[in-house]
Symmetry: C2
Subunit: 376 residues, 2 copies
């Protein structure tokens, strides 16, 4: 993997860059649609490429490991071949999912023993086997096995959790560096900064993570319930420490406003289930603000979903028709809203990129944060 | 509406023709995808046009009347404008749905009083208001308000039901002929032959329906549980009576084999929820036979869903990937399987058309009926 930092905004810490992987280039800042089980929910691969124009998507190690399973993925030649997505893929480490299985998992220094949510079968994730599993899934960017420290956490727990994440990182890198990709293309490993909302821990974690000198770095454990101001403060603190010549990925973030503020803090990569999950519930992110399409207000509004955004679904279908579909629980409603929201998210980061290059990012961002979060 | 009968098979009663409506031409024999609530479930309008290449789709009067409702549809300028489908649309009369609401409907000579399945509100359908409702929905082809006689029915009930359908037809035609389309294009009314599985009744009904001299005729009350042989026998009997220079529509039919046999009996138009409903349950109709994609057999089958069929979803996605999606209850599974099955159904009727024109329809049909219904 190669990262070229192309421009830095003089007024904020926003950056423009380009990541090169064996599956193609990613122009940053970028938003990565989440494809949990090897599919971005309700979106055809063709739509993801041609309509949304995603540079990279995510897969979830926990889900893919359980189903379709490593045998099938390896037989296919990796996830790209299995699902037909030939651009870059990033996989999370599964840590977030298994830690969330409260009652169905046991943590010790070695790793996590957990029960499958599908059939109750027992499995173990360790830093080492998670590297092997992600090697087999075949993502271009693979994530270290960490604990996403829950919020709130007291300082003592946050510190212990962070320190285990750091110890596990060492094991991850040793395993990763002593193995090779299975399908003839390169993979790279991103470590993850933790430390909850404690400045001293975030600083310590960022320094530790930076010292591993990997090709990119991630910031985890944010957007988990803390106030947005805390998220921005921690991100800002961490990006002051992480190396400038490597991409920074703020995990699980977020709303359009969160993403713009994250970019201002010097973040290059984002992912979140929000655009697709909210789409299925009828919440639309548009160039004019947020729409709850179920509202009576849209019942006879025959105007396009978002004429300014452009693209097939956003200009072809009307608000009234989409409202009808979502209220009638028609699958097409989820499809249209998902493609629309993702098109909007990709538009947003590309607009940010242009404004950073044009030198007016800060003014634009301050206007957009207000505009995009208003409820229409 | 205009119907041109272009060719009749010398060995069977199969026909090739072309229907011209103000929303475009329909080449027959044709299969019409069902778009109950103004959407063919899980299929984008663009896919319906460009991938499946449907000439005409159905809408359900009962569903559309309740939701989005006539106000919204009229404000939009009819269903074509509301859902963006600019090719022909046929609406059923709602009779089938309201008669199925057993316990929540009362039938008398005037019409049917029923309760909405959505909110329990009371409504009345009569032959007259059903014409008005379909005028407002704006379908190109609208159906008479009939009773789809349930199966089995004794001769006495079947006769009474048929006679009421005939009396209601007179009221339908009077109302239809004394009103006009609301949106500047022509609409036409198809009456429906009933008579259960009784030859005398079917003959009588076909003669009565033919005597109304409408632009097309439908055969209802079949594919409701009777043996396939009875369906073919009744269809064959009815098409001997219905005028040759008008299209015949066999309602709610059916499997690929049913459709081929129906074509052999001289039917021109078909509709059925089967391809989309079965798709959502993982049953695929392919050029090689029927696939239950959930079967373990397909777990690691990385071959395309149906290479011979062609088209985006059927060649881009593998059986193993589709199996994974359907088992994981991912929306994309329903989407891919629905587009695939409808592509297959449209391929099937177009193949039939070519073989009728080529003069080898009967041989081809006899081979295909066996091939297409085998379980792989």
């Amino acid at each position: 993997m190669k990262f070229e930092l192309q421009h830095t905004d003089p007024q904020t810490k926003a950056r423009v860059g380009e990541i090169t992987t064996d599956h193609g280039k990613i122009q940053t800042p970028i938003f990565m649609p989440v494809g949990t089980a090897g599919t971005v929910k309700a979106v055809q691969q063709r739509e993801l490429k041609e309509d949304i124009n995603a540079d990279i998507i995510l897969g979830n190690t926990y889900h893919l490991y359980l189903r379709p399973g490593l045998d099938t993925l390896e037989k296919a030649g990796g996830l790209h071949k299995f699902n037909g997505w030939d651009r870059p893929i990033l996989t999370d480490s599964g840590g977030y999912q298994v830690f969330s299985l409260s009652g169905n998992r046991k943590i010790n220094e070695e790793g996590v023993i957990f029960k499958s949510h599908i059939d109750g079968s027992k499995h173990v994730f360790t830093p080492e086997n998670i590297m092997d599993i992600q090697r087999t899934i075949g993502a271009d960017i693979i994530m270290a096995f960490d604990e996403c420290t829950p919020y709130p956490a007291d300082h003592r727990y946050a510190k212990e959790s962070m320190e285990r994440t750091h110890r596990w990182l060492k094991r991850c890198t040793e395993q990763f560096d002593s193995t090779e990709g299975k399908y003839g293309y390169s993979q790279t490993l991103f470590p993850i900064v933790q430390g909850s909302t404690y400045k001293d821990l975030r600083k310590q974690s960022a320094e530790t993570i930076a010292s591993f000198e990997r090709e990119g770095n991630a910031i985890g454990g944010l957007s988990v319930g803390e106030p947005a101001e805390d998220m921005y403060e921690m991100t800002d603190l961490v990006t002051d420490i992480l190396p400038k010549d490597k991409p920074r990925y703020l995990m699980g973030v977020g709303t359009p406003a969160n993403i713009l503020e994250g970019i201002a803090c010097g973040v290059d990569m984002f992912d979140c289930v929000m655009p697709t999950r909210q789409a299925r519930h009828g919440q639309l992110f548009t160039t004019q603000g947020i729409i709850n399409i179920k509202n009576k207000r849209w019942e006879q509004d025959l105007s396009p979903i978002d004429a300014e955004l452009g693209g097939y679904v956003s200009t072809f279908y009307s608000k009234a028709y989409l409202r009808h579909l979502i209220r009638s629980q028609e699958l097409l409603g989820a499809q249209i809203a998902s493609v629309h929201n993702l098109t909007f998210y990709l538009w947003l980061v590309r607009q940010a990129r242009e404004h950073i290059l044009a030198g007016d990012f800060r003014e634009w961002k301050n206007i957009m944060v207000k505009k995009l979060m208003q409820r229409l």
